[in-house]
């Protein structure tokens, strides 16, 4: 049978049929008994939707329980007389938004974080890339960066105020410093962790050094880089809290300090919830990027 094959070269021992099978038979079988299978698939999709709804409910159930406990606890006085109820926090939030204060302070804070991260993140990535791709650079910059990393950067706040004044520069600088380290470390480790066998195979396909970097090393390091990005964002928010605690008259941190002066715990809670939401949102953003960029991982989609 082998001898009879003319030009087209599909393996006669035919593993292909298994591949060819994979797609065509599916529609064929639906045609055979259209009524029954649509009914069955409709039932299945209904059950699937119910299951998905149940899963979604399960995912938010913990959050709802916490809110419920808070509400109950503040109503019954379990949480002490200084803890505001969710209701009073909500009305404080509405009032703040209405007066325009909230938007103003949130805007200022977002600008500070935005500026800091806009410089800190690229800087961290650049340092990580430089060290990861070139041994000589790693040899030179790794030791100082590791030393700086051990220094809790928040301790620099008073020093920065002396160096850069009490204005925006000192705050931006503080927020800028934090994210550099997690990104540097994760980018470097991500690159070092790329499977050398893949690099070899790709190089034997004739990729240049740049092609190798772009198509093999960076995609291979990407999961780790995204971990670094998540840590960096977390640190960014944390630094914002510290940066806005002193020497400022704007930002949600100021809102908090100001509320403390007047024992407005409801306003303080509005700020706390804001911090939580900002953290969750930025994490969600990275997760979205992750889902798109790492779709090649087994089990990442459709589960």
């Amino acid at each position: 049978m082998t001898q009879s094959t003319a030009p087209p070269l599909v393996a006669p021992g035919d593993p292909p049929p298994t591949d060819a099978d994979a797609s065509p038979p599916a529609p064929a079988s639906t045609e055979r008994s259209p009524g029954r299978s649509t009914a069955r698939s409709a039932r299945r999709s209904l059950a699937g939707a119910a299951l998905a709804a149940a899963l979604r409910l399960r995912r938010v159930s913990g959050l709802i329980a916490v809110l419920l406990l808070w509400w109950l606890g503040s109503g019954q006085g379990w949480l002490g007389s200084t803890t505001p109820s969710p209701g009073s926090v909500w009305s404080a939030a509405v009032e703040l938004v209405r007066s325009g204060e909230y938007t103003h302070h949130l805007g200022v804070s977002l600008e500070r974080v935005g500026k800091g991260l806009a410089i800190g993140i690229p800087l961290g990535i650049a340092l990580g890339l430089a060290a990861g791709l070139t041994r000589a650079v790693e040899d030179v910059i790794d030791a100082p960066i590791q030393a700086f990393r051990m220094l809790p950067h928040l301790a620099l706040a008073p020093v920065f105020i002396i160096w850069f004044g009490i204005g925006e520069t000192s705050k931006t600088m503080l927020i800028l410093i934090g994210p550099i380290f997690p990104l540097y470390i994760n980018v470097l480790h991500g690159i070092r962790g790329v499977d050398n066998r893949l690099v070899e195979a790709a190089r034997s396909c004739g990729l240049s050094r740049w092609g190798l970097t772009r198509r093999v090393i960076l995609p291979g390091a990407l999961p780790q880089i995204l971990v670094g990005l998540r840590q960096a964002l977390g640190i960014g928010w944390l630094t914002l809290v510290v940066a806005e605690q002193t020497a400022t008259t704007s930002g949600i941190g100021y809102l908090m300090t100001d509320a403390r002066e007047f024992l407005r715990t409801d306003v303080m809670f509005v700020v706390l919830v804001t911090y939580a939401l900002l953290g969750v949102l930025s994490d969600l953003l990275v997760r979205l990027v992750e889902r798109r960029a790492l779709a090649w991982r087994r089990g990442y989609t459709g589960r």
Binding site: G13, P15, R197, S204
Partner: protein
């Protein structure tokens, strides 16, 4: 290349010529003044004990090893492709992009498509490598090598991780592909039967040198039943330091011992496919 001028009688310039190749690892000599040459279009199987330096030799020829200790002559074509035991596809690139990796020209994608069709994977262009079976991944790797139209194809136990049946199918496929693309081939294998089934020549690596260089003169349907096949097989097994009579026992007592001996029954059964 300047190979097609001569007739059948005059030997064309070899695709590979190695003389006195030495490769040491931390002072330990793995390749010891090794000589080998491979003609264009020639299919050479390289066998040898584990640790004898087969992969080392292949890596030198593939330009992956940049720390060769010494040589007198080391000629290999510019255009070399390597297939490894594990497919080594980039998991973040779809199958088609893996095949087209590093291919120059605007027709790269079309050529990759053709190559995938050749290995029977048309329709799977957009799959992720993790979605393929081991045999399918290895076929993609084969397509990735051959789409470059290499003058020399290096394969390091490319079918070692596959089951016996898939392996036989891959043999047929590889034979066809080689007949079409006509590269010189150096195939590393543990399997004496695989070597006899595929190669024009079998070379045995031992103590860092080519210890034997045998032409496979078994007539066309190389079925294990023939006397010439059995004689060559016995000779190769002996060269590998195995007792050939032990290899002809119909049912291997211990399939766990992954020596070439336990392939006999599988191949005997598979030969009628």
């Amino acid at each position: 290349m300047a190979t097609h001028s001569g007739g059948l009688t005059t030997a064309p310039a070899p695709a590979v010529r190695i003389t006195s190749l030495v490769r040491e690892f931390a002072g330990r000599r793995v390749l010891d003044e090794l000589d080998l040459s491979i003609a264009p279009d020639e299919f050479v199987a390289l066998i040898g004990r584990s640790g004898s330096g087969k992969s080392t030799l292949l890596r030198v020829l593939g330009g992956i090893d940049h720390e060769v200790t010494g040589y007198e002559e080391l000629t290999a074509p510019e255009n070399v492709s390597v297939v490894f035991q594990d497919a080594r596809l980039l998991p973040w690139k779809r199958v088609l992009d893996n095949v087209a990796l590093g291919l120059p020209g605007s027709d790269a994608e079309a050529r990759a498509r053709t190559a995938l069709a050749e290995v029977g994977l048309a329709g799977r262009e957009n799959a992720w490598p993790v979605e393929l079976s081991g045999g399918e991944q290895q076929r993609v790797a084969l397509a990735r090598s051959l789409v470059r139209d290499p003058e020399l194809l290096l394969a390091d136990e490319p079918f070692g991780a596959l089951d016996a049946l898939t392996r036989l199918r891959m043999h047929t496929l590889l034979k066809q592909l080689c007949a079409r693309h006509r590269p010189a081939v150096l195939l590393v294998t543990h399997d004496v039967d695989e070597a006899i089934a595929l190669a024009d020549r079998v070379v045995v690596l031992d103590h860092g040198r080519i210890a034997a260089d045998l032409r496979v003169d078994v007539p066309a349907p190389r079925s294990p039943g023939t006397a010439r096949y059995a004689a060559l097989r016995d000779e190769l097994l002996t060269l590998l330091g195995l007792d050939p009579t032990a290899g002809t026992v119909p049912e291997p007592a211990d399939p766990g011992a992954s020596q070439p001996t336990d392939t006999t029954p599988k191949n005997a059964k598979g030969s009628d496919l």
